[in-house]
């Protein structure tokens, strides 16, 4: 398998996640789309690690997974708070920080 096919696949996965973030308005679905994008980048890094024959890409994937775990913990706590205050998950509703 030529290594480019992995790059193409992760590019497509990233674009799907990006379109999801732009189109959907549900906070939890937005979060899941961000996870899709993170995973697409992870796949690129792992493929690049194999292409170069070195460990650094895999180490980066490891750190990305750690940061994603921390991000999900804080983000979901924020979403729970938001839902209890506003009663909705629609990200268009909270406008306190708008100009």
């Amino acid at each position: 398998m030529a290594i480019g096919y992995y790059f193409i696949l992760s590019a497509l996965l990233f674009v799907v996640g990006l379109v999801g973030v732009l189109v959907r308005r549900n906070a939890i679905v937005l979060f899941m789309c961000v996870e899709l994008m993170l995973n697409a980048v992870n796949l690129t890094l792992a493929a690049a690690a194999r292409m170069w024959g070195g460990p650094d890409g895999q180490v980066f994937v490891f750190f990305v997974i750690v940061v994603a775990a921390a991000e999900v913990v804080v983000g979901l706590a924020l979403i729970v708070n938001l839902f209890f205050r506003r009663g909705t998950l629609d990200v268009d509703v909270p406008q306190l920080l708008r100009y």
Binding site: I3, V19, M32, V59
Partner: protein
């Protein structure tokens, strides 16, 4: 002519059907299909389950990339811990109804899809060609990454891994020598995230100022109902 191009692409740039090619296509179709399902599913719980399939497919792709340690981590951390957290929050909030929240204006939707097509086109333009020829198939004979004619070779991890086929020692040695500082920082980050989540998840807090306490429903600031005040009293 067209058929040979397609056949060449299906075989991943090579000329024989190896196990890696078969596994790649199986997992690639699974990953892309479930990613599309995450974006389009009406029910959030179904979307979350589709995301689990996506994460498992990517774990399978890590296996074909000779990164079995990452594959295990992916299953444990993502498909295990993170997705359980997602489903827990969905169930806790009781939002598993069929309400498709989607951008209201048509212009936003059309522009989003145009941006997606443009970005994927640009990325495909970069990758098709130099990375997809038969030179880019990972093998032991490649030592230089960039070949003379501009195509990119793939060195592969087989030689570096040697007997350590899982890659744990390979990765661990780097983590505890070259990447010690980021490793310790990530421990700190996880601690901070845990403390932050505990503080954020407490429910006794000030009300936001842009909510009118004497609003249309005169429940006022205590709109969470008796359940919440009962909990506050228990804490005291």
């Amino acid at each position: 002519m067209g058929l040979t191009v397609v056949a060449n692409a299906l075989l991943g740039g090579g000329d024989q059907l190896t196990a890696e090619v078969v596994l790649f296509w199986v997992f690639a179709v699974l990953a892309l299909g479930s990613a599309l399902a995450v974006v389009t599913m009406r029910n959030i719980v179904h979307g979350a389950l589709m995301l689990v399939i996506n994460l498992l497919a990517i774990a399978g792709l890590y296996l074909t990339l000779e990164s079995s340690f990452l594959s295990i981590i992916q299953v444990l951390v993502y498909a295990g811990a993170i997705m359980v957290l997602f489903l827990f929050v969905i169930m806790l909030l009781g939002v598993n109804r069929d309400d498709l929240l989607i951008a209201r204006s048509l212009r936003t939707r059309v522009l989003a899809i145009v941006a997606g097509v443009a970005l994927s086109g640009a990325l495909l333009l970069a990758f098709v060609g130099p990375y997809t020829t038969s030179d880019s198939i990972c093998g032991p004979d490649a030592t230089e990454t960039v070949a003379g004619d501009g195509t990119v070779r793939c060195i592969g991890l087989a030689e570096r891994l040697g007997d350590d086929t899982s890659g744990v020692a390979f990765l661990g040695r780097q983590l505890f020598t070259r990447y010690t500082f980021p490793f310790e920082l990530s421990a700190l980050l996880l601690t901070v995230a845990t403390i932050g989540a505990v503080i954020l998840a407490r429910r006794r807090d000030l009300e936001p100022e842009d909510l009118d306490p004497e609003g249309p429903d005169s429940d006022g600031p205590d709109s969470d109902g008796p359940e919440r005040s009962g909990r506050d009293e228990q804490e005291r």
